[in-house]
């Protein structure tokens, strides 16, 4: 078993355990329990770091998109979210801005 397969297997088990534990303790552990709140905060902070790092200092093929296009794409997505709401429209709008600027810079 390769490292990638082992890591995936462990992640699958970890995610199933978290979902199962959540369903199991529901009713016993309140949603405002300190542990649940801490886990939610760590989850959001990790996701935030992932998004910001992908915009500011991405690795691999993402780095081919100019920083200005990445930043403008995310700004457009968030702006559309606060303007119109929804999920698909902000994502597609941000993607369109990213693509347009990337095409402009790569022309």
């Amino acid at each position: 078993m390769s490292n990638a397969e082992l890591a995936l297997l462990l992640l699958i088990l970890g995610c199933a355990a978290m979902r199962g534990a959540g369903l199991l303790v529901a009713g016993r552990l309140r949603t405002d329990h300190p542990f649940v709140r801490w886990a939610a905060a760590v989850s959001l902070a990790t996701l935030t770091a992932f998004v910001l790092a992908a915009v500011v200092a991405p690795g691999g093929i993402l780095a081919e998109i100019p920083l200005a296009a990445r930043g403008a794409g995310l700004t457009a997505s968030v702006s559309i979210l606060f303007w119109r709401g929804g999920l698909a429209l902000p994502v597609l709008g941000g993607l369109a801005v990213t693509l347009a600027l990337a095409a402009l810079f790569n022309a």
Partner: protein, 226 residues
């Protein structure tokens, strides 16, 4: 009837968002040189894009699988509070609610928390399974398609497709900032992001998440004690 209604609801905007992001994930796995089986197993059995992407990003770093897994588990740690919050709304006691276990993920959860409270108790689990199974199927098919078409996409077009995931999560995070504790977690996560560049690559995201998340948690406790 309620199952079919949930399927139709899932095939609207949620399916579009899910399809785009899982298409991008399939393309990202292909670009990383990992196999289709791995991509499909991740999409269908992890079924939590933050953890999937963090795992994929961390696999390339030195340090073995453990830090990659811990970072990915931290990114998906919201499954625990999500399941705790969702369970009371699912109706069905005991084993029946565990049918929902593999499908607890951001999109079905967010939609369920909006719809289930207005629904008669006996219909809730059926609605959730209809919505979630549809989203889950869309995720698998999109992953497969993304993996297959990735080699046909060139340079910055493929890169832009991969950028869908950060955009998607950026939108989800921005939406959550309506609530003060989530806003603090996002702000502290932003402040901790430089750690991603300073820490060893394999521990970078986990380290930033732990520091930022713990700071946000303590900040919230302090605000409540005033």
């Amino acid at each position: 009837m309620i199952f079919r209604s949930a399927v139709c609801e899932a095939l609207g905007a949620p399916a579009l968002a899910m399809a785009t992001t899982f298409l991008a994930f399939g393309a990202a796995v292909q670009a990383a040189g990992i196999g289709l089986g791995w991509a499909l197993a991740a999409a269908q059995l992890v079924y939590g894009m933050p953890g999937q992407m963090v795992l994929l990003a961390a696999l390339g770093a030195p340090g073995g699988p453990l830090p990659a897994v811990l970072g990915a588990v931290a990114a998906n740690a919201r499954f625990l509070p999500m399941a705790v919050a969702l369970a009371p709304w699912l109706g069905g006691r005991g084993a029946a609610r565990f049918l929902a276990l593999p499908f607890i993920a951001v999109t079905p959860w967010a939609m369920a928390m909006r719809r289930l409270p207005q629904m008669p108790v006996p219909e809730r689990l059926t609605w959730f399974l209809g919505f979630a199974l549809t989203s889950w199927t869309v995720a698998g098919l999109s992953t497969w398609l993304g993996f297959v078409i990735a080699p046909m996409l060139q340079g910055w077009v493929l890169a832009a497709l991969l950028f869908v995931n950060p955009l998607y999560f950026g939108v989800i995070l921005a939406g959550e900032t309506r609530f003060a504790p989530a806003r603090r977690a996002v702000l502290c996560g932003m402040a901790a992001t430089p750690l991603v560049l300073l820490l060893p690559a394999s521990w970078a995201l986990l380290g930033a998440g732990l520091v930022g998340g713990t700071a946000a948690f303590l900040w919230s406790l302090r605000v409540e004690q005033r």
